[in-house]
Symmetry: C2
Subunit: 370 residues, 2 copies
Amino acid sequence: MHEVNFAVLGCGGIGRRTLDVSKEKDNLTPVAACDRNGVAVDRDGLDVDELLAATEGNIASESRSDSDRASGERSEPRADGGTAAAGDAGTESSGVKQTGENAGVAASVQADPTETPIGDIVEASDAVDAVLIALPNFEHDFIPRVADRFAEAGYEGVLLDVLKRSRVIDMLDERAGEFEQQGITFVCGAGATPGFLTSAAAIAAQSFVEIQDVEIWWGVGLKSGYEDNRGTVREDIAHLPEYDIDDAREMSDEAIEAVIDDHDGVIEFEDMEHADDVLLERAGVCDAEDVTVGGVLDVTSDEKPTTTTVRVTGTTFDGETGTNTFELDDATSMAANVNGPALGYLKAGVRRNRAGEYGVFGPADLLPRF
Amino acid sequence: MHEVNFAVLGCGGIGRRTLDVSKEKDNLTPVAACDRNGVAVDRDGLDVDELLAATEGNIASESRSDSDRASGERSEPRADGGTAAAGDAGTESSGVKQTGENAGVAASVQADPTETPIGDIVEASDAVDAVLIALPNFEHDFIPRVADRFAEAGYEGVLLDVLKRSRVIDMLDERAGEFEQQGITFVCGAGATPGFLTSAAAIAAQSFVEIQDVEIWWGVGLKSGYEDNRGTVREDIAHLPEYDIDDAREMSDEAIEAVIDDHDGVIEFEDMEHADDVLLERAGVCDAEDVTVGGVLDVTSDEKPTTTTVRVTGTTFDGETGTNTFELDDATSMAANVNGPALGYLKAGVRRNRAGEYGVFGPADLLPRF
């Protein structure tokens, strides 16, 4: 495979870890990265270690204000790429307020401060084969609108997200014609779940001619990784029955912490709106309603509170009913299970794009590979 | 997806079951099938039930001579498609010798007797999007030479096999340029193992940046299915350390039975030369030498003697070592696990072919789908 140059939108937990994992992959070169305050572009390849050290240093030395949490992940895609000012996003939880320009990517010697980070990446997108959108999705149409900006600018290449919500897939599908016309291959839901586990379910289904149900059950232990993944935790809270995505967006850090405390740091989720359902249906594996997703998040321990498991129950052509099972080792972190697959899907997306296959693709359409 | 018309070469256990499973699949129409004595072509779609009934009836009423076992699976690809005469293949084990023209496919009202079954399918291949090669591979170059015949005849479409041996992949790779020029998409090793389990391993590897080892372990209980799958059992015996592929080809039925009896009907295989190794290496998942394949065949029971399991051990980007596991329910038969994936890969192959992607593809290159 030829060299793949990619960009990362957002340098929170997922974006930073993806850059980190990319060092281990052949033929993958990060050439651009941004967060809300800074953008780094180097067509010869970013110095990932420097970028990670710079952004990690910032995070470690900062107070945990809401703007820190977002760490560029809430850049507004509207208008000309102007981002919300650092203080807009919420209230401070404690300590010194972040000053903005010195936070996150902007602290890297490779970066420039910017008020239009997404616009800057769009501008540099002629150097890019694929863009990983590692931004939180606190508005359902946020990622679709980011895609619009690339399409409008004439970008031809891969866009990939690690989004979770089923309904976002429909919004992307509405844009499939535009993507096809433009030469964009959009790979959606390409993290752990949906993503890794969606493909595992599609594989496991192959023994059967009819599927009764697909159960996806995840465990995440996020003690030491908690600060880095506050955006992900906030998104998860929107999956609790008492909250919705607007609540999760608007809640203060204290309110989020209070929810976590109410659950003693261990939150169980049932019947989550994870896009595994629609992605398996569109792949022809089963009906969306036959898919259930749930799991347990433990922010008090790095140990997984439960083993991540995919169970696919179906009937074989010869009339037997059985359950095929896929289990992830408890030693594999959420980061490992999101970012490895994301980069695998990214490379698979680039192969499709180069073969002239455009439009919207789910994980079960693309086998992730190293 | 548009309609896929396919042909089956060989109507032994695998070929017949594939036709059976195809009834459950949307947009898949079998239009041609052959064995050593007969060929059936119907461009509007074969009547699978009639064909299965006709061939099953034959098998049930026949003695278990070696020629029955082969049941068209040993058609010679050389020359003009002439097949070995029914009696050539071995000695009779008991009873009345099969008469040839009335056996297998030729007994179907849809079929004609033929001495050139493969040639007949090649001739009809303009009506075919994909050809499933369900012939045993008692000579390493047998399936590659079948492919040559389609290529020489100007066939443009998918060829798919469920072969097992690692070294055959190299022979196909040598032909990749010819396939590309011709517009042939060859999908190799697309049964259970290699095939189904190869893809499962490729998926399971996604947590890791480095793989230490992949262990594929299968269990097959083949009591009631034994008569239908004698070719497969014979091929398996070639994987025992005391035998090679020439032995397995030349051995009489009695000699095969003696080997089975020596093992009390339960044969354990270790370090099999299954192409999962080279197919995972070519997909960039791991080195071929890190892959081990073994399993247990029990011809005395329909229960699996051991659970079919894929274990992938690797190191995550954050330095943890773990083992991801994929398990097939014991209730899923070998037939279910070979033929479902084979047809999934076949459809995936047709999509690639229609998108202009030609050459040789392994299972990990193509996610099987319904």
